[in-house]
């Protein structure tokens, strides 16, 4: 069920997730999205990564969503499928919500992490101002976005090494399946 919010209430909710509405432009942005996407514009790709970075937040010594090229995975997965339209609409929706947050043009990818998280939480729950997301596809978009980012990230052998997953084991199997691992 979509909770309809007023624009003002939305701004307050989104602001609550950050240090208030005093937005300072930080980090990120330029470093992102080096490899060109075949289905997203440069800006759309930047937006996907800005979401991916807060859905899968990693520490310095861990492979990041950029390191494992999550964007390339999403590119390959949704090219030529109806999911692409859902993504394009959703990414524009994220920017519209970001624009509601402050004065002047502001885009999702430019926001600090806390505000991106606050926006994504509302998209996930569908608690959005009606005019910010007329089609109501927010929760579905979030589900697919989250799902694809997780798939792209956790299918990477780099990540398997980081979390200690052995991955493919045929045709030998795991001969040590019943022995306690060395700590």
């Amino acid at each position: 069920m979509n909770l309809k919010l007023t624009r003002r209430a939305f701004i307050q909710l989104a602001g609550a997730g950050s240090t208030g509405l005093l937005l300072t432009r930080v980090e990120l942005a330029s470093a992102r999205a080096s490899a060109p996407s075949r289905i997203f514009s440069g800006h759309q790709a930047r937006t996907v990564l800005a979401a991916a970075e807060v859905i899968i937040p990693t520490r310095e010594n861990e492979p990041s969503v950029v390191d494992v090229n999550v964007l390339d995975y999403i590119d390959r997965e949704i090219r030529g499928s109806s999911e692409r339209a859902l993504f394009v609409e959703g990414l524009a929706g994220l920017d519209r919500l970001a624009g509601l947050l402050g004065r002047g043009p502001r885009r999702f990818a430019d926001l600090p992490a806390a505000q991106r998280i606050a926006i994504l939480k509302m998209v996930e729950a569908g608690t959005l101002p009606v005019d910010a997301w007329p089609s109501g596809s927010g929760p579905l978009f979030f589900r697919q976005l989250r799902r694809r980012i997780v798939e792209g990230y956790f299918s990477s052998p780099l990540v398997w090494k980081f979390i200690g997953y052995g991955g493919r084991s045929q045709f030998i199997g795991y001969p040590d399946f019943n022995r306690w691992p060395q700590q």
Binding site: P57, E151, G173, P181
Partner: protein, 515 residues
Amino acid sequence: MAEREVDVCIIGCGAAGAVLAKECAEGGLSVIAFDEGPRYDPFRDFRNDELYAMKIFDRARIVLDGDDPIKIFMVKAVGGGTVHYSAISLRFHESDFRVRSLDGVAEDWPITYKDLEPYYDRVERTLGVAGSNINPFDVPRGPYPLPPHELNTNSQVIARGARKLGLHPVPAPLAILSRPYDGRFPCNQCGFCFEGCQMTAKSSTDLVYVPKAEAHGAVIRPRCKGLRLEVNKRGLVEAFIYIDERGREQRQKAKLFIVACNAVNTPRLLLNSTSNLFPQGLANSSGLVGKYFMHNTVAAVFGRFEHKINSYKGLPQGLIIQDFYETDPRRGFVRGYTMETFYAGPITLANGFMGHVWGDELMDFMRGYAYYAALFLSGEDLPNEKNTVTLDPDLKDEHGMPLPRVTYSYGENEIKLRAHSIQMAEAIMRAAGAVKTIGSPARGTAHLMGTCRMGTDPSRSVVNPFCQSHDVKNLFICDGSVFVTSTGGNPTLTIQALATRTADYIVHEKANLLT
């Protein structure tokens, strides 16, 4: 190309359909069996890759409804769900057939454990079930065809915790070879049962039953999508209408039809088969086709340990605990559940079991991937007339057939049972030394039961004790749909035993049935 008329036309070639095909063909009947999905070659088509398996397996479009909408997994393939299943092969207990008499809820089955016992024996031998007779809660039974599998580290740690609490952890009876058997390799503990077994060690029905059916002349037709059954003036089914692998509509005539598409797609096909004689759908004079949908209450608990366990290595479902299977009035609910060890690849955990969180919470969980032991809790879901499979009034598939809509809400007993199972799993984890436990609220099931239930009263059931429609003499319904109760275990072995019994009946009664 109209196929020539056969004795038996089977729709759905999964856990039940493949068994029916083999047993009917061996009984001398001419058999054709259709399946909507492809026929996989394990060496060529399966990979040790959870993402790849998700893409090839989960294609069902189902509308979910109710207070507790539950995601339904099914595999469209020859072999059906057994291609993907854990292969836990439990017999139902004697009490499972008498829930009304013993607990005052649900209904009794019109058959007893004794009716199925010889068929359980036969199916276990055909599959090569590996197990051990040390389970004090198992039905009295002979030895398993094959010795049990060795436990992986996850099962070892859980066995330790359970024993400390005085419980009885035992190797799960599995339709997975622990020794070479029937020309197939034994399991090499690769850990990828759910992705389709590349070794052919898992006894899915496409590997075990289909070749034997074909050896006796049965024809298997993959990639054929059923639309409806047509009846003649005498009220008998005359033809099965389907879309073939090239997209053309076809008619298959037969003397006898068996619908075995699972408890979602079987009622869908019957409800979609309306006619002047049967305006509310085929076999539905009771109005109960699609009613009493059941699954098994699902929950999962992860225990985080200080040391690595590497639960992804080896058979994930190596161990079961059935101490809480039978009713104990002190618990405040009736019936019970089976605890089963399990584990899965990182995507299944992150998107499935932990699909409700993201950000730091998700990553904190996933950083512990190698450090968890895990228990899956499969409980009895009591039948409720309001839990249904219906035809969606608006949404249709690419052939214009209405999509199935599954409406499901947990009842009070399920909620209590589920909470108890989570508490006990947490206690086992702590006893085993877990520093913390994490429950998963994920709701998904592949255990589909109860939408065409069996009984002796045609006004209160859809099929008779031999899975024959009360309304239409040459129509049988044989899969999880006919279940009267869901039990606190896994349904597949019982589906297979019922299919064997039904086929025996058809072969034995062919003079009457095939006219």
